[in-house]
Symmetry: D3
Subunit: 257 residues, 6 copies
């Protein structure tokens, strides 16, 4: 039997301090798993567009490199756009997971089809693209949104919950969803309320809260010695890099080994 | 932080005693996870055909019911045909996982495409069908076989390993696989040898050993309160059942709650 | 010109006697085709779940073996879940057809897209899975249900017909279906009423009654010497089988030749 | 029990007389099914290109209209390009079948995947397109060709057979085919020789001879009252038509009813 | 820098004179691109069925041959059924484009998913088939129709525009379209009105007018020396052709070089 | 007739000066189209990994904003990874095209299937992902590589050409490609040599040189008033951005209008 504790770090790819509370992450720990948290230094206040996702990547990659240096076992990127997941997997020697990719696969394991309940309608193409890249297009029943911006989700939780239940019910009844995945990590902690609200309407489907799920799956993969494929994600070639001093190490393959 | 230990039971859907050794399963335990094992009373000696899979199902369902009665948290079916997975999920109140479905999703999380390395060529359609049902057809690079029957895999481990490396290398180089999944749970424990053999040829891909992986993922799902969708797998309606006395409870929905 | 008569047997995979009337099957005969009927000895009263489908398989396989011994030319399994189709094809030397697979392919031959009209909503994933395995996912417009249990379909035929027309109309107008397939063999004989009801609303689509269709297609295949592929469905390997005495022959490949 | 005989006409969409022998078609008759034959008056000598297929269509449509006037029950178009199938289905009140579409669906019913063995490599895109339109792309393992033009197939049957066996074997062993379909109706009658040749090499797969198969399936559909969907193939609107006097009736919906 | 002017001819595959006005095409010219126009001599008055499309093909092929003889650089077929596109590409040494195939690819370049807004509901299968052949099924959000026959589109342009805006809005809001393509070349010139009407409702999506778009793309391809693949569209083999005197040259490969 | 000249700018997302020569771009101009060029200030020396693509994006976005300020009509990103295409389309009011997406759609317009011939094997998943996002997975025959790094392509052009012909031939003969697309914009200008080399081996397929093609298509789209969908690519919400001063305007929607 293995003795060691698995250390998973959640990296929030935004510059807004306090949006993700360490206490909320600590509450997710269980025997054999410990969590830590980091935010990025340069980048957007929140992520609701491809532009914001793009400018969150360099800062995120720097945090992934730092996590590996500090002996962390696995990193979970704290955004449903999985920003930087692919480059991070190239430059890191430890496992890096995205909550969207992970949540979609878990949903497909548990139910016949799943829907994403996200914050803004404009994110729909992005989720359909991620499903396509995961090979899961046929499992994605729909993408629905509550039309509340990320940074306003906690302003009135009763409104957020009511909208989640409403769209969740329509996903099941109109779109054929048999499992639900939150389409924004800002909704972390709302899964219980959504599930209760749906049960009250006679709807019994799993609600996947992507950050707790990705953390738990990351730890499970570490336990069986699995990480991203080095053939899919080989270290980048050694090469000139102008700017991005904190990523210099990634451009030198020796450092990434 | 949660304190409880998660109890996962591996159910081998065959009547051959000693094929799966409890000690090998106990070696998979880690902090917070405990394993147990069961075999079935009626059914085939091993599973290499749709016929054998079919006649393993009633016995497997009986063991799933028993596991739930005994307080087990999750069941993993010990065969890459995932025999009985769907009916078991209907009659059980606990999580039931199949190693094939789980292994395929994990492979798709880790690499761009994956191949199955199984025992006999005749199982190829079955794996392609499972991939289709998982929505993962586009991620399945190929199904390759070592052409050694299940019950002869351990006769000469050096031959088995050599054949695994040979087919694994061809899966990567000829078929485009970037991760490998064993296509028979009888290969449990060979992942390390296959991975080393491939590394010796300059090939660096994850090798997914389905039983350890499915056990670890099952425990991870239990930790975050997830199980199969009740909308996809509702309890069967109450109804006449002739024969199958040990499954009578499953035909009575009250018992299945 | 061939002289012989083709003998097709319909095997109802349920223990409820009298549900399928021989006279109704005899009415399907035409020059050169004769029909017979069998039910199973152990199994469920009707099939509305994966569990019931699973426990209908061993009894169905026994009837398929018996049909072959009695000189029948082809067997049609009398349930839209096609329970036991794949193992039956392995153990039988004669053609075995499932009405769901057959009905879906016929529908795809006749119209651009088709819908399934079945009894209960819970069967939807099962039909979508069969379509995926047939390679026909893009041809399946929708699965709709009349929400009447199998054994109550004949209680009030006017209600059943009204509900069929209602869901058939919505399948065409809302889902884009251009052909319809009954999703329960318990609806056998209702195709005329559904087609008339739809014509009265100006909708002209083929209505595929799966049992008559599968019987007719089975006879057609026998006429041109075709049966299931022995490469897809090879005889099972000779092996130990505990229980299932009536299936012992199937475990001995000599018997299955 | 139905008494009538079903009359199926095979329409060869070429101007080469004697290519299709009536005696060969008469040999396909069985109790309850009678066959007749027609060729077209204007069009190509044989069909090996999209151009030749296109100029075979008006003549084929004229023959379909004539068959219906003469009381034929169903028409089978005698070319694996299924030329004119869709317009013929619009203008005819009787069932019209294409051997390619029909053969592909039958192959998919019988085996996991199928390959087409055709005459010339240049036809490959056409078969892949037909598979896509049938929704069967995932079932098409490959398209292989013997590289013998249609009108030379019978010059040396031993060469043709040897090439068929060679490509058939490669389709099974290299491409994963588990059933084979002739990709040219000029190969009618060669299925037995191909099947024997493959069995001699230990390969046991169904060989679908498209014309006998489509005739038999056409008769089976007539027996159960099925024909193409009027929603997919509605009669053309009444409208001006310059030229094509023999098709004038088709431009007048009254005639097509 | 290239100096020559690119000459694109629009071939309307109908016999109705004056339906396409040369002045409307001349208005599409821009520096370096000149347009001309032709109609066919035998064929239908307009195209709203597979039958009409089929009988438009021989006349269209004759015009394609004539365009090449006259030194035209590229031909655009003026019908969203792309009638004769494939045979024309075989017999022509110049580029031939279909507005449907081209419009769909352009729509997929510009937005996540697109819808077709066409004239009659009955054309829906045809558009879904074209999308499948283009490999773009997953990009086609829906096919909607204004239910106005081709030759009546200009009778009351305010009605046509109102219906276009109505169906365009529903395509975006209900079906998830993010770009629109006219499904009838008879709608040429209406794109501005549709786009303005949608903007007035707060909907901002590209509206692709297929003839101007295909003309512009055709000229762009000529500029970079690209044309259809000779491997996909090889010249037809030399062979007997009865009738179709104006196409005799196409049956002689020398002429098609 | 339109009079204005269309101005297309090619933005090379690398810091290596002189890799792309303005003279080579000027040679692509034709009547009505003018070209200009820009490189980025911070980022990688060349792009052969997801990491390098990621760190090229902020610099690329800055150049897209500058191009729009300078009155350019359309931007083509000079890398087959299409880095920054999606965020650039959000922040720009002018058309932005990626050569990979554009080249794939053009290839699918011209031939039945196409292959990518790229520099390094490791880029294969990236091209398969782009094809999936374009909806063109079924059109992608294969991805082949010459195994020469980007910055060494011009070291010995005869070696590069020989390798291109070799892999191009295998793509056609072994993988079924009927058109070819260069998988690295560093190969610009080699299309003629590849096409000649293949013709010398009897292979006649279009070779798509992505930068000239994307430039020409971009100009064609500008001519018909088309640009990316504002529904797929809406301007980013106004929000805090730490760092990336040159992108501040993009975070303010007013600036992006």
């Amino acid at each position: 039997m293995q003795d060691s504790t698995v250390h998973v770090r959640v990296v929030s790819p935004i510059v807004t301090r306090g949006f993700r509370k360490l206490a909320d992450l600590k509450a997710l720990e269980y025997p054999g798993v410990t969590l830590s948290h980091a935010e990025i230094g340069t980048g957007p206040g929140s992520i609701e567009s491809e532009f914001e996702a793009a400018v969150s990547v360099p800062g995120t990659l720097a945090e992934v490199l730092r996590a590996e240096r500090e002996g962390v076992d696995a990193v979970v990127i704290d955004c449903m756009g999985d920003p930087g997941l692919r480059p991070a997997r190239e430059i890191a020697g430890i496992a890096v997971l995205g909550p969207c990719q992970t949540g979609m696969h878990v949903a497909a394991m548990l139910g016949h089809k799943f829907s994403i309940i996200t914050v803004m309608r404009r994110l729909k193409p992005s989720f359909e693209n991620t499903a396509a890249l995961c090979g899961l297009s046929t499992k994605l029943a729909s993408v629905r949104s509550v039309d509340i911006p990320v940074l306003e989700l906690e302003e009135d939780l009763s409104v957020t919950t009511r909208r989640l239940v409403e769209e969740g019910r329509r996903a099941v009844e109109e779109d054929g969803a048999e499992a639900l995945v939150f389409g924004c990590t800002g909704l972390m902690g709302c899964a219980g309320a959504l599930r209760e609200g749906l049960l009250a309407e006679g709807i019994d489907v799993p609600v996947i809260d992507p950050i707790p799920t990705a953390v738990s799956i990351a730890a499970a993969l570490v336990r069986v010695g699995l990480s991203q494929s080095r053939t899919t994600f080989p270290a980048p070639p050694q090469k000139q890099l102008v700017g991005y001093d904190e990523l210099r190490a990634a451009a030198l393959p020796a450092a990434a080994e």
